[in-house]
Amino acid sequence: MRVRMKIRKGEEVKFISQLDLMRALERAIRRAELPVKFTEGFNPRPRISFTPALPVGMTSDAEYMDVEFAGELPLDRILARLNSCLPPGISVLKADTAEGKIPLSSVNRAIYTVVVDAGGDATPELLDKAIAELLARPEITVTKTSKGKVKNINISPLIYSIKITRVEGSRAELRMELAAGQEGNVTPPVVIKALLEYIPTITVCRMNRDELFLVREGKRNDPI
């Protein structure tokens, strides 16, 4: 049976990479003595797949994995056993069958909560203005370095919305809805970097991925 799980990555583990998280979950499954299926061949691997990588340094309430088990197991038992074996900061929020659900690789959108400090003399009003100006631009070019190559990309079409949801002194909580996944991906740190052009004193206090889903033909499809 193939089981889909929604996973939380908390403060304690926000600096671990996607690969580290995968390994930690694989080892937890072994500790929980859950009968996972392995790939055939010379170097057998557990049959587990994940949603696209979360940037390092960010917490998340919306990571997903599919695990293929040998035989049928009650979902609540899988959830309980796995949660009792996970290291601090990682937990399984939900488990359901993966049958009939969207493939994990198909997700294309994410919602984040980003708490920033405007810093210096900047006020939340100034931040609001800067966001409006940024969103009004047809082109927002940022440079990206991957594997030593510097690339210019336009992130404007990858930003769906940025809203200020709370203000406390010089701190503001932002809700960002951004493209995520294989078709196009932009992350909050990149958006913040673009905002620095307007307010160079912004610092990030906290980032969390709240939701991850697929939008197809204007309709939202959640992985679970």
Binding site: V13, L21, E26, R27, R30, R31, V56, G57, P87
Partner: protein, 618 residues
Amino acid sequence: MEIKKVLDEVLPEVSKPTRYTGNELNSVQKDKQKVKVHIALAFPDVYEVGMSHLGIKILYHLLNEREDVYAERVFAPWVDFEDVMRKRGIPLFSLESKTPLSEFDFVGFSLQYEMSYSNVTNMLELAGIPLFSRDRTDRHPILIAGGPCAYNPEPLAEIIDLFVIGEAEEVILELIDLYLDHKKSSKSRMDFLEKAAGIPGIYVPAYYRVNYNEDGTVKEILPTKPGIPERVQKRIIKDLDRAYYPTKLIVPYMDIVHDRAVLEIFRGCTRGCRFCQAGMIYRPVREKSVDKLTNIAREMIKSTGYEEISLASLSTSDYSALKQLVEILIGEFRQCMVGLSLPSLRIDSFTLDLARKIQEIKKSGLTFAPEAGTQRLRDVINKGVTEEDLLNSVKGAFEAGWNTVKLYFMIGLPAETYVDLEGIARLAYRVVDAYREVRGNTKGLKVTVSTSTFVPKPFTPFQWEAQIPLDEIEERQRFLKKKLKGPNISYNWHDGKLSFLEAVFSRGDRRLNLVLKKAREKGCRFDGWSDMFSFSKWMEAFREAGVNPEFYANRSRHEDEVFPWEVIDPGVERSFLLRELKKAREAKPTPDCRFDRCHGCGIMKLKGGIFCESKNED
């Protein structure tokens, strides 16, 4: 400063931030206010190296078993984070509770290789702890060090307060008990150190005076107070089956050097290779039983979820019930896909058969360590392997499908000539011939020859010998480079400059403490990492300290010379080492005492050796 908060801010900019965050599965969280003794286990290298080390794992969990003790870990920060720490004024802190090192009762360093000494001094600087023992006061932590390099403690004698000699599982607890008493008494730090010097296995250098001869050699090392032992005998655990062994090992998030469950199967080695320090200082041989090991393995996998178990010892094939153990472990873990790896395996028909059962070995290729290129030189170093043995094993491996072979040699061994170096190349080509013989061609074959440079080590038969001069090291490497060319052969070698420094510190004395201070001022650290190592800075440090490094590395010692490390008693006697040196000079091998008579190495006095029990010394 709240270190946790600052870390949140700076870690996104640092490479591999998980090195500094802690919180791994099975790491221990305690309230530091509620314990009586707070001890930092410091490993002078990066997280992924230190976390791979078995000794730290044992001590960490052993100490944390006690409710009144909190043991935490600390590693050397990589250079990018060190820069951030210095800029932001972040003091070196422990992984678990993020406590500055300077606030601990004890800081214990694990000394695994000489070239990590510059990381010890750098870590002290980052912690804001004065470098020299004499400059520290009652409010500073007590600095402990242990590990193989502690067998010559002298190059760090003015830096470290006390050395633990030998296996620490028992003595560390005795030391903690003493400290608990000391805390109640409100007496001075020196009072504690003096009492500690009375515990067998503990060396407190402040209570010894070194007198030198006119030629710069050591005349004598004398205790300066009554009650301080003349020599400090190493400690051993007599019954490993009853010794503490951790099963709830920390499971790191990041990829570390040895990321697997480690199962220590025995300690000690009876082979008697004359260059090998481990083979002498870890005697006698003591094994764990198959039953005990099976239980430990089962517990470890249950509490870690690791996908691999690795057997640990100096020479896996020497475990007396290896076949039985491997079969049980394979049977036990086949179901949950836990692999088994057998490092330090002597390759012969028996182990090839084992290896075939264990796929793991296939991936990494096979490693052979003939160490020297000719039979004569192998007899000199007492490496009991013949060319025919090697070629038969290699052929067996090729027949079984392997096509990658690594050959390890040492250059600069005592009495090495260019004939022996030719022999290294000849052996490599004979391995290629063997492949052709088995497979009909050389398709897919890869033979890698690696040479390190011989470093004479304390408490080995070669402790009297000189290292060859640096220019000669480089000349011999060039010679081999020319000889080892071919489509299937590649050659790599260790930096000769590093081996030279290793030779200085491995047989150094107290005068090197000043060199370490100078090297720290010049910014030396991570010397074992080739991109960080600066030979010229070290040479400046020697010059400024007025110390001639060649005196330590390149001088052969007189039979009667007193050695700085002889304040330590490793159990193995000087007279045995000298006998072995003389046999080496006649190229006479000494058979492994487990199959032969007792050669009288002296270790019998410590008891516990499984091959000593049935023998009388000759």
